[in-house]
Structures are given as structure tokens and as C-alpha cells.
Amino acid sequence: MTTPVLSLRGLSTRFGSNWVHKGVDLDIPPGEVVSLVGGSGSGKTTLLRQMVGLLTPTEGEVRVFDEPLFAGSREAQRQRRRRFAMCFQGGALFSAFTVYENIAFPLREAGIATEAEIRELVALKLTMVELLPSHAALMPAELSGGMIKRVALARALALEPELLLLDEPTAGLDPTRSASFVALIRDLQQQLGLTVVLVTHDLDTLAALSSKVAVLAERRILAFDSLEAVMQVDHPFIQEFFLSERSARALARAQGA
């Protein structure tokens, strides 16, 4: 068995006196696209933020690339952090920087590539996310929602991560843009062999992208399997989430496509 890229071990989270998670275990093997679903308030985004170390779980441990997230020296942690990247829901682009500077920023910080190489790498990332070179000079405030997502993706890919975490990648996009963004993520995932973890509410996105689905409910991972297998699980939340009329339409659409 291959070592998991990301694993959660007995993760528990408490906000005040309220346990959000209790003993969450999850192993994400390399090359998979895992969708994390759950009702609102079930702590999906919290879990995602714990995976990247923005939040510390009350109990339990997050391991990335088979090492604890916070193990080792500063330099070792920095090296480890370079191997994964996250796209935030609102893009989280640096609003004082142009698109070019936003994508170049992590490369400059890494200090490996020369300035001329950075120019070309930025151009390359822009073509990868299907943006035009002329967009490089724009400020984040001048971009549309779909473009912000693409620039955020380009910035996340700048350091060639092996693991990509996406928080609501298609939230706030119209269906056409959403579909093309999903196609883009899928193509890039296949080309680059990324492991992807995403949180989503959107069943179209879920059905089109994920190779595995993790259902978060009742403070733990209820099921973690392929979409078809998860849908067979007999649990009220899963039944309601996947088998409602609206969901059935979305899933049928995705399978037809």
C-alpha cells in the first residue's frame, strides 16, 4: 500500500463546549481527488484549515507526506509547506499586487528561479489556467470572479505542489464558468499528477471531479469511498444529500457529460 499524502489521526475539534469533530480518521492516497462533503456547520472548512495548519485541532494529529505537519526545524517545515498549496474560497489574492506579482510572489520568496525564469514561469502558469498574458498587469480588484479563481489556482500551482487543497472551488461562479473551471482543475490534476482535496457544496463539481468522496457528519467521517459506493450507504444524511431529486438530476447530468 502506498503511503498516504495526507492523513488525519484521531482528530477532534472543540469550539467552546461544542465538539465539532470527534475522532476523525482519514487517509488520502496519492493521485486521488477527494471531495469533502457535509451539511453546513459540520466543520468541513475547519477540517480543511486544520489540514494546512491554519487551525490546530484540540486532539489528534495531521500528517502530510507521512510526517507530522509541525515536525522538524523551521526550514523543514517550510520545505514541507512548499509541497502543498491551498486555494481559498475568495481567492485571497494580495490586493496590493498585480496578477503577475501575485503569481511571482511565492517563486520570488523561494529564491530558486532567476527573475527572467520567473517571468516565463508566470507566463506558463497563466497559460495553464487559460488566462491571457495581458491579464498579468491587472489588479485583483479588476478581475471577475472566475478570473480570481484562476489566478488563485495559478498562484497555488506556482511552487509545483504535490497536494492541492481547494475551498469551495466553484462557489460564486455561474454554471458555465463553474463547469470550465472544473474541467481545468481536472485536466491539470491529470497532467501534473496532483492529489487534490476539495470542500464543496456543489454536486456538479463533486460528481465531475472527485475520485473519492468523504462524508463528514455526526462529528466524524461517515463514509470514504467512491461516489457510487458512498451513495449506497444507508444513512439519513447521505440519503438526503445524494438522493434528493435535485441531487439525482445533478448526478445524472454529470454522468451524461
Binding site: 502506498t2 503511503t3 507526506f65 530558486i112 525564469e117 517571468r119 508566470v122 498579468a136 498587469a137 509545483e160
Partner: protein, 370 residues
């Protein structure tokens, strides 16, 4: 981890160059310079990429540059890597445009832009006052619409909460001023004039200006930042869409609150500063508290107090107006927020000192014992 990083290498055998190991950003971190030189110095007729373990776009870019922007004629290219170079070829056809150079004309244009920007500021500021006046007139007949809750909340924030810090600063300034003056006065045997100096200086000048600087830094910046963030998060727009005037809800309560709170803060701070000065005078010169308190009203005419209160109100209105003016100009990015907050504080302090000078000239014959 299972697949440890393999050092990127470049092997040369019989005119055939074959990169080996991991050619990824992570692996190349400490080898990039060496490999760049090796690639530049290498004279090869054939290339073989089949020994590569991993190749990412940075590694591909290094090779692509060494090849001069096209694939070598004679090479072994495993299928998996072909797309990398196709993308690089596509990228070469659409390079990122370079930012334009800054020339002399741009400097002149920048200067003109700054001047026009100043006029724009003046125009906007005037428009803000005009809107406020119109909205104020509109409110006259409609007491139900008065933003009284916001007013009282602001009064508490800018007034009551500023009391401790202004008292502390006032007290210390009073002590220092009294101590320094006492040293000089002692030399001339003019000890009793300490009351005149402190009384006039603090009540008429120092109190209002000191409080203005404190309030501009404390409340003015907070107002600009608050309005600015509300612009960024589109809360201001939401109010407009609901048909609620931003000026009545956001600007007017702030202006009203500061125009009421400032005179009171001036009174409070001046009083505490005088207490500080009095204590220092007692310690330094042996001037009794009773004498100080008894002499103060005799040497400082009451007109000074009214001038101070008037100044406080005017400065308060100025600070609030400037803060709101800059707050409403914030564009939705962090740079603009910080620039406008800075500009707000600097402008309001400068303006307060300018207006203070005007006050000094206008009231030069009032309240000064000859």
C-alpha cells in the same frame, strides 16, 4: 517518506546529454545554479530524457532555455513529458508584456496628476460638507430619522473611551511643562508666574491641540478604517441600495459625536494637566495648592475657556469630516486602505494646527491679560 528526492544530475556520454533524477523546483532548490552552468556549457548533439525521475515546469523551463526555445532534433522524449514542452512552446508565443518604463514625461504627468488629485480632494471634501448640510436640513423636520443610537455609540467610543489615555498624556505634559518652567522662573525669582504660564498655555493652546492630536490618531484613524473596510466589504453599497443615506447613518453621527465629545475631552484633559502642573509646582517651588487654585481664575480670564471649548468643537468636526472623507475614498484593496488611513491622520493633524493658527490670530485680543 517513500519516494525520497533524487538529486538532479546532468550526465554526458558520447555527445549525448541525459538529465537524471528529479528536475523539480523542490529538488533543484540547491542545484539550480550548478545545473544552469552545466547546461550553458554543454555541447551536445543528442538528448535523452528517459533517465528523468520527475520533471515539473521549472525543470522543463531550464531545459527549454538551454535548447534555445525549441525541441532538439535528435532526442529521446518519453511521452509523459511532451505536454510540458508543448505548453512552453505555447507560452513563448504569448509572452507576458513587460511593464512600461518610466520616462521624463511620466514624471511630469505624475506631478500634474498629483496636483489634479489635490483639487479632486478639495472638490470631494466640499461635496461631503454639502451633502451633510443637505441631509441635515432634510432631517430637521423628521426627528424620527435622527441617527441617535449611532450618535450615542460614537460618543461613547470617541469620548468616554478616550478619557484614560488623554488624562494620562495631559497629566504628564502638565508635570513636565510645570517642571521646566519652574526651573527658569526660579532663576528670575518669578515663581508665582507659574500659574499664569500653565493656566494660559494649557487652557488656551495646549489642551485643545493635544486632544486633537490624540483624537485624530485614536478616533480619526478608526473612523477611516471602519468606513474603508465597509467600502471593501460593500456594506456602504448595501446601505445605498436600501435607500438609506450613508451620510446620515455613517458620517453625521461621527461628526456630531466628535463635535460634542471634543470640547468635553478638552475640558477634562486641561483640568488633569493643570492638576499635574499644580503638583509639580508644589514639589518644585513649594507653591501651595490653595494659592494655585485661588490665583488661576484671576490670571486666566474666563474667555480663554470659551475659546478652548470652541476650538475643541471646530477641531472635532474637522477631524471627523477628514476621517470620513478619506474613509469613503478607500478602494477595495489593502494598499488603498492603509494609504487613506495614513492620509486621514496626517491631514487632520495638519489641518488642526493650521486652523489653530487662524484661531490664534482671530482671537489675539480676547482673553489675554495685558
Amino acid at each position: 517518506m517513500a519516494d525520497a528526492i533524487r538529486t538532479p544530475e546532468l550526465h554526458l556520454s558520447e555527445g549525448c546529454l541525459s538529465p537524471a533524477g528529479d528536475w523539480t523546483l523542490l529538488a533543484l532548490a540547491s542545484h539550480a545554479n550548478r545545473l544552469r552552468q552545466e547546461l550553458a556549457g554543454a555541447k551536445a548533439t543528442r538528448w535523452d530524457l528517459s533517465a528523468l525521475n520527475r520533471l515539473d515546469s521549472f525543470g522543463a523551463l531550464l531545459l527549454w532555455r538551454a535548447w534555445g526555445g525549441r525541441l532538439p532534433a535528435d532526442m529521446v522524449l518519453p511521452d509523459g513529458y511532451a505536454t510540458q514542452f508543448e505548453r512552453l512552446a505555447a507560452m513563448d508565443e504569448a509572452p507576458v508584456p513587460r511593464p512600461p518604463r518610466v520616462g521624463v514625461v511620466d514624471v511630469v504627468a505624475g506631478l500634474g496628476g498629483a496636483l489634479l488629485g489635490l483639487f479632486a480632494h478639495l472638490g470631494d471634501f466640499l461635496a461631503l460638507i454639502g451633502r451633510l448640510a443637505l441631509d441635515g436640513l432634510h432631517l430637521l423636520g423628521r426627528p424620527r430619522n435622527w441617527p441617535l443610537k449611532e450618535f450615542s455609540a460614537n460618543l461613547y467610543k470617541v469620548g468616554v473611551k478616550a478619557m484614560p489615555v488623554s488624562a494620562l498624556v495631559g497629566f504628564l505634559i502638565g508635570v513636565v511643562l510645570s517642571y521646566l518652567s519652574a526651573l527658569q522662573l526660579k532663576a528670575f525669582g518669578a515663581d508665582i508666574f507659574i500659574v499664569n504660564i500653565l493656566g494660559l498655555g494649557i487652557i488656551r493652546e495646549l489642551g485643545p491641540v493635544l486632544v486633537s492630536v490624540l483624537v485624530a490618531g485614536r478616533s480619526g484613524s478608526a473612523m477611516t478604517a471602519q468606513l474603508g473596510v465597509m467600502r471593501v466589504t460593500e456594506e456602504v453599497d448595501a446601505l445605498t441600495v436600501m435607500g438609506i443615506s450613508n451620510y446620515i447613518r455613517l458620517v453625521l453621527p461621527k461628526v456630531m459625536a466628535l463635535s460634542v465629545a471634543m470640547p468635553l475631552l478638552v475640558l477634562w484633559t486641561s483640568a488633569v494637566a493643570l492638576v499635574g502642573g499644580m503638583m509639580s509646582a508644589e514639589l518644585q517651588l513649594g507653591l501651595s495648592y490653595g494659592y494655585f487654585i485661588e490665583t488661576l481664575p484671576k490670571v486666566v480670564p474666563a474667555a480663554n475657556l470659551f475659546i478652548a471649548l470652541g476650538k475643541g468643537a471646530v477641531f472635532g468636526v474637522l477631524i471627523a469630516l477628514v476621517a470620513c472623507h478619506f474613509g469613503l475614498r478607500v478602494k477595495p484593496n489593502t494598499e488603498s486602505l492603509s494609504a487613506n488611513t495614513t492620509a486621514s491622520v496626517v491631514t487632520s493633524i495638519t489641518l488642526v494646527i493650521l486652523v489653530d493658527a487662524v484661531f490664534a490670530i482671530a482671537t489675539r485680543s480676547i482673553g489675554v491679560p495685558l
